[in-house]
Symmetry: C2
Subunit: 454 residues, 2 copies
């Protein structure tokens, strides 16, 4: 067997700044629009939801934005995260490719999400805001904001998609262990929740509904802000700490990626690992193949429209120009992983439209098979989301073998699978299946997309 090859940065080398790709975009992003007026949103429009520190970052075009020391202090608990050369996987695949993975499962919640939860909590804390609402699907993001709330002494209220709330009681306990509150969505606490329940008392909930409830509560309470775990510019910015570290670690290996691969839900994981390298390419410093991998059950980048759409089902959020399946889209229920959001980060959508990244969609069975292959070679069971990236990496590595070419492939193993063993249990028992294309079509037909596209 091959040895473990791990690149560890000294903690003094946690990046001091995040990288803002807005500084290097070849054409500016389309502005976000106010949901009522359809005029570009102003900082004042965002003030009921976000602290000033976050609003400035959302709109900034500065290339480097300082990471506050209190944020670096908390980051230090698990950062810098390790970068590995996947020698045993390379050997198992008999590939000439050099495969590297950044591992974000070392965070206290087991994923990359705290990279943005910590600064979002910090900016609220610094501005004296004592309380934040948010939404969560499977619970990764809610857990991360719960952790961040504990670190800065904030009250956190999490609207959790109802079906997950009932199916994943452990995630709720996880959030509550950090002192956060957790509410099944749709709920009776908000006007929007009540309207959903009036129409469908058995509603399973969705991310779009939960966002609507969390935003409504934040808008109505003066002591409360809102936090989102993906999609927005400032969230993607915070995640670049992963790619910036990876760049330093690859320099230790005297290497640079030809290809960077990441799974995409709302896009923050992808942006985090890809943007610092894509920025080099945008500034003319390198070529880069950037590959976004998504589930066929929620094919936002591969089959969505590039259009203005709402971030939530309540249509309370600003409209952003993005790849979208429609704000009412709900992925077919037998899709076992995360990556269920109807939209895609505007920055990523924009770069996709400009031709700077490739997108692929995979079926779930081939992703789980890839994940087990990775686990048995490298000793880490990936989160089902990360399995999409693993599948993309294995395909690329096998193509290298076929063509007799070598290249450096980097991906982000954005989380471990410890909380997702139900999905693996189902997979191992043969209880998961792939989708028929018609099921996705049916979900898209119900999503409300035609009314917002264009």
């Amino acid at each position: 067997m091959s040895e473990t090859v791990k690149y560890v940065l000294d903690e003094a080398r946690i990046p001091r700044t995040w990288y803002n790709i807005n500084a290097d975009l070849p054409a500016p992003l389309a502005p976000a629009l106010h949901p009522a007026t359809k005029e570009p949103v102003s900082p004042a429009d965002l003030a009921p939801l976000f602290p000033q520190g976050v609003i400035e970052q959302e709109l900034s075009t500065e290339r480097s934005i300082e990471i506050p020391e209190p944020v670096r202090d908390v980051y230090r608990q698990w950062r810098p995260s390790p970068l590995y050369r996947a020698r045993r996987l390379e050997q198992a695949l008999d590939t000439p490719a050099r495969i590297y993975y950044k591992y974000e499962g070392v965070s206290p919640v087991g994923s990359h999400k705290p990279n943005t939860a910590i600064p979002q909590a910090f900016y609220n804390y610094a501005e004296g805001v004592p309380r934040i609402t948010t939404e969560t699907g499977a619970g990764q993001w809610g857990s991360s904001l719960a952790l961040a709330g504990a670190m800065f002494g904030l009250d956190i209220e999490v609207y959790m998609v109802g079906i997950s709330y009932r199916q994943k009681p452990y995630r709720r306990a996880f959030m509550e262990s950090f002192g956060a509150g957790c509410i099944a969505s749709p709920s009776e606490r908000t006007a929007f929740g009540r309207s959903v329940l009036a129409e469908d008392p058995d509603s399973a909930g969705s991310l779009g509904i939960a966002i609507g409830e969390a935003v409504e509560e934040a808008v109505q309470r003066a002591d409360t802000h809102y936090a989102l775990g993906s999609v927005l510019n400032h969230v993607l910015l915070h995640q670049t700490v992963t790619g910036l570290e990876a760049k330093e670690q690859l320099a230790m290996a005297d290497d640079y990626p030809d290809t960077v691969i990441a799974c995409t839900g709302g896009g923050s994981n992808f942006a985090g690992i890809v943007f610092p390298f894509l920025g080099d390419a945008l500034r003319g410093g390198s070529d880069l193949e950037a590959i976004a991998v998504e589930p066929l059950a929620c094919p936002t980048l591969t089959r969505g429209c590039f259009a203005y759409d709402y971030g939530d089902s309540a249509q309370l959020t600003p409209l952003t120009k993005m790849h979208t399946l429609g704000s009412g889209f709900v992925p077919p229920g037998f899709h076992a992983g995360g990556l269920r959001y109807h939209g895609m980060a505007p920055q990523i959508s924009h770069l996709r439209a400009l031709g700077y990244l490739e997108a692929r969609a995979y079926e779930q069975l081939e992703c789980f098979a890839a994940g087990l292959r990775f686990a048995q070679a490298e000793g880490i069971i990936p989160a089902p989301e990360a399995n999409h990236a693993v599948k993309g990496v294995i395909d690329e590595a096998l193509a290298c073998r076929e063509h007799g070419t070598s290249k450096a492939i980097l991906f982000n193993l954005c989380g471990h699978g410890n909380f997702d063993m139900q999905a693996y249990t189902d997979y191992l028992a043969g209880n998961l299946s792939d989708l028929a294309g018609s099921e996705v079509e049916a979900a898209m037909a119900l999503s409300g997309l035609p009314s917002v596209a264009g």
Copy 2:
């Protein structure tokens, strides 16, 4: 809030040798006895179960035993593990004590167990043994050996305590994801399993029964060895990698512990963090307060006999002189954590009898409360086992506050709670209770202790 203080060793400083406390014992251990002849066991007696490399370690009195390079190569995936100064917990407790914790939750299975699973698998691999059986309770140890098997290409068969097999399907999926087999115990596969089922077709199983089945299969199959996750000398030896690293990390902090605290089930976690420091004390280099913390539901060190007893319910294993509650002991069922083994490592029992360590037993509710206090201060939810150590640490730190004294307290946070959220769910819902002493008495009365004591 306070900053994170973390001591990270360069990976080149993973220890090159384990520390063997047999070299420094003030009086030798009582020998293990053959279960049939009651004569001291010889290396030949152990050969059906263990590879030579392990047998030599079991009987060795050399102080330093080399860690093979292939083991260090796998260790490197997560080792050296971090050592933290628990500044935020100190602040929350307003204590003058300096609290340090070693964090073993960074391993791919989330606990300290791979520290011995990896070398045990390696020695079997190196001697050409293709297959290992073992037992597991909640699944931590079985997962660790499954991981180790994947790393060295061995087949692993895990007898899992039946009630856990049914209640914790995720742990089974975890083992199977690494390619291991998992069997509910008692099973129809072994004579001992069949005899238990004949007497009680609904048997919930126990660690003692599962060990009996795993040993029986290993004895009967020429291609199969057995591995144990705690208790034996070689297992404790392998775990010293944690204390040896901690000693180097405390030197970075220019500190040395006055008190080392660890929870005890079979004793390997305790030995791992304590023995390297206790060895200094035994050789006259320092004073040390060593505190073993166990659950009141399984009070091996605080209420067991120090006597020769079997390691398993089938009475197939050698007899060792140890603190024991009787090889038939089953902790009351509403005890939510691990630490359920009836016996205690002979080395620890011996040192306890000689007066070198203190033992305490806690109720489960106070341990969960301590664990949540830790989580909200430090951002990591401990495994329920580790909560016992946390409770001990908090008590010591509060005593320092009361007496206005400072001291350095080190403990091993031997695992995270990701896989134990059912226990936290029950605790948060108010569904856990403390034990009446009479329930432990009743369990002890059924354990068969009187027949083996003396």
